[in-house]
Amino acid sequence: MGLSALINWFMGITNIFKKKKTIRLGLYGAPNAGKTSLANKISMDWLGEPVGKVSRVPHETRTIQQKENVRVKANGFELSMNLIDMPGIATKVDYREFMKYGITLEEAQKRSKEATKGIIEAIKWLENVDAALVVMDATEDPYTQVNITLIGNLEARNIPVILVANKIDLAKAKPERIREAYPQYPVVEISALTGENMDELYNEITSRLR
């Protein structure tokens, strides 16, 4: 064994015992599940600045947005993370859907093209995250193929997952459907908009993902 190989071997051994200091936490989910609202809430709580713009028009987040070194403290633990807000994953992107929100044809086509690129980017990032929050709109059916595929992929890569049942401030919300659909995963019911139950989410993040 050469000297450099010996050094690499030694570094590898010490890295096993060295605790990872910062994790890359990806926020995944379908468009309009509230990923950016949640990323903003987390970032505002711990850094005092937002991550991105929120809109009722689907695919508002079309590129990956990051906030580095977000330090979450809860449960007597502290966790440093890079918060990565992913574009929403969908199986179809039709520019005509955007025009229903009053967007011009040209702008809708541009948005559609950017949205497809964003989805590809978010999928590629599955290889690079250390943990994931899969955000679901609690007013919608959670048993969609996008959610199933996302969770299945994360599990196959042994990436820890917390399911976030968002929008519980809405009367139509039925977070129990998410628990029923994915009984093997921890589910935290929150409202990123009102901040309800965020403490519970921080407890889960610091205890499960550290």
């Binding site: 969908a90 199986t91 497809t116 989805i119 048993y143 193929q145 599990e155």
Partner: protein, 120 residues
């Protein structure tokens, strides 16, 4: 007229990785609804979504996909069955979203709403 193509496990087993995904996307772009005797893996599903996004156009805005009966809670068992050349449980249905307006599933049933009319 709606064309539904049933693909046996044998047909797709002859195609590897990208070739398999490209074959599926090409068939979907022709307007076919595909029923796969052997379900796609989660990894194949994401590759299919990725390939679909690269192909999105005015005529082909995307797909609807649903897999039913796959053992999502025991990946190891499914992997071993595949390694031994067996057919894992379940099936996958995929259709172009211009034709398949919606797929709805509860754990045991998959409903497909197709047609040129409005979404139900």
């Amino acid at each position: 007229m709606i064309e539904i193509e049933f693909l046996s496990a044998a047909v797709l087993s002859q195609k590897e990785g990208k070739q398999k995904i490209d074959f599926l996307v090409a068939s979907l772009k022709k307007g076919k609804i595909l029923v796969l005797e052997e379900p796609l893996t989660h990894s194949e599903e994401t590759k299919l979504i990725e390939a679909t996004m690269k192909s999105v156009s005015e005529k082909f805005p995307g797909i609807e996909i649903g897999t039913l009966g796959r053992n999502d809670k025991n990946h190891l068992r499914e992997q071993i069955i595949r390694m031994l050349g067996g057919k894992p449980s379940g099936f996958t249905v995929i259709g172009p979203s211009k034709l398949v307006r919606q797929m709805k599933r509860d754990p045991e049933t998959l409903s497909l709403f197709a047609g040129d009319g409005q979404k139900r």
